[in-house]
Symmetry: C2
Subunit: 126 residues, 2 copies
């Protein structure tokens, strides 16, 4: 009988390697791993902007953690904050040109890693 | 033209939700998220045992972090250490009955989450 844990164990080991590689590539590009995922979520939006509330769900971080992450990314020149025209408490976040370049650098470098991880996940049967 | 970041953004958000859920389920079962992945890697081995050296690669942690993780898991009654018959410095790690039960509880509870993650990843096109 096949080992019922083998597929999940392979998946987790692959996931850990992917996340480690993602960390290394982000730091080589001069941003933190969380900044990469933040920039990716904003750039991945249909209209290229996100609010802190949307990012809380996507990043699975607390409101205060996202707020701090956004502040540091803004200080690093990676993104702009534009107040909402309908609600002054809400800011729409979008990437600066510098942020877009950092995102592109990491995103391109991770292309083969994403493909490999997805291939492994597809191959799971348990 | 399709947003070139949308698929990767969805993929990352799905991974984060999966890892968060995995954390919650592990803690509900009375073990840490790292203990779950440790038990899974040992149980997923063909012969049901692993060494610290193997786990360093699978968990992507340092030798000292794995050593500490193993010590705490042993103290919690989750695994046994058996000295290698060929090299006294090496220990083979295997699950206790208690460890197997904790692993089963988390692994079963995460079944639908693994399936959902695969479904989401299958649906990605980029």
């Amino acid at each position: 009988m096949a080992n019922p844990y083998a597929a999940a164990a392979t998946f987790r080991a692959s996931l850990r390697r992917f996340l480690r590689r993602s960390e290394d590539v982000s730091r080589s590009a001069g941003i933190t791993p969380n900044q990469y995922v933040l920039l990716l979520q904003i750039a991945g939006a249909d209209d290229g902007t996100r609010t802190v509330t949307q990012l809380v769900e996507q990043l699975q971080l607390t409101q205060s953690a996202v707020t701090e992450l956004v502040q540091r990314a803004e200080q690093a020149g990676l993104l702009d904050r534009t107040p909402s025209q309908t609600d002054g408490r809400v800011y729409h976040l979008s990437l600066t040109e510098h942020g877009r370049k950092r995102l592109d650098a990491v995103h391109s470098a991770l292309g083969p890693e994403r493909a490999e991880l997805r291939r492994l996940i597809d191959a799971l049967d348990g």
